[in-house]
Symmetry: C2
Amino acid sequence: MIRVLLAEDQTMVRQALASLLDLEDDLEVVAQVERGDEVLAAALSSKPDVALLDIEMPGQDGIAAAAELARELPRCRILILTTFGRPGYLRRAMESGASGFLLKDAPARDLAVAIRRTAGGERVVDPQLAAQALSEGKGPLTWREREVLSASNLGSGIGEMADRLHLSEGTVRNHLSSAIQKLEARNRFDAARIAEQKGWL
Amino acid sequence: MIRVLLAEDQTMVRQALASLLDLEDDLEVVAQVERGDEVLAAALSSKPDVALLDIEMPGQDGIAAAAELARELPRCRILILTTFGRPGYLRRAMESGASGFLLKDAPARDLAVAIRRTAGGERVVDPQLAAQALSEGKGPLTWREREVLSASNLGSGIGEMADRLHLSEGTVRNHLSSAIQKLEARNRFDAARIAEQKGWL
DNA sequence: AATAACCCATGACTTTTGTCATCCCGGTCT
DNA sequence: AGACCGGGATGACAAAAGTCATGGGTTATT
């Protein structure tokens, strides 16, 4: 029997997936959590063979949870199941120790297959997505540029961003300007949109 | 037997929900579609008793699909199943002829219950959400204000928005300024964010 | 030791945006 | 008829945002 931990914030989706997996004879859902920061504790007590993690979750995202899990419970394989096929997500997931990456757009029967292969030590990634991730690279943005873009995404003005990041207003504008040019955007919001869409945020 | 049409763009979620519903003796999933603009055709040929519609879908959103359906096939009840409990969504869904409104955050067993009640002619809405929708009203924005906010949400500058809407730049700025003040936002992007989050976009 | 990134900061400058007052027009409500 | 609202427009002005040159600091890489 393959023991599975299921982390997904939408209750209905989580339970539907659980019932789907329970139809398989060789799979057993041993834990369900709805927050990223509950993954580790649940995994420590339920000892799953595979952790199936959504990315967008409250508390902590699935990639951060994967990193925790890979460090504290290296015997547990990690399979990311997410809505968005952003190359940056895939890259970061793999860097955080995930073994597989599956989209919610994939057919349901792929899920059980992917879990079995992940449990067997294989890496399961959509080849097309992998190619795209490799070709796009890590993205042109530096750490600070990503930070200011994320902050500007909340609608605040440059002054507030400077306060929050303990920077001068001029510096914030410089980072923003640089990011805008790298992304060939029209303004910082456009830049934030582009970066987020590419998974570079 | 209650015949159910299932419209949801994420294949895995759709199939998982379908398998969940198939466990119920009195429910039968007679059609599945993954785009909003496929709902009507599928409904006409499969004659469902209840259409279970997601809102965020390619082609056409679930609310528009609900309006079509209510007009062309009034005997089919409509149940909206969505991620976001935005009051504006609920309001627009009900105005479009939906009979029920359910969140993906709700427990999975509520789904079958809601379908049965909807099929029986009841209106199924989370009471808390309904209260919030009533208290917030339709939102303070006018048609044009919503239009400019949606356009600005794409990152374009005022000039491009003016072109697209065939307006003067000054007029666009006036509408934006007015929307910003009504929403107590700091700039147009903040305003767009607020309006979208409230479901007023 | 030199080079190259990245980070932080200023100051000066241009462009974009937001605000306000003031028009005009066409509906609608009283 | 008059008041009101939404839409459209203009011009003027102030504030915010973006660009550019420049300088100093750190840390890797060569």
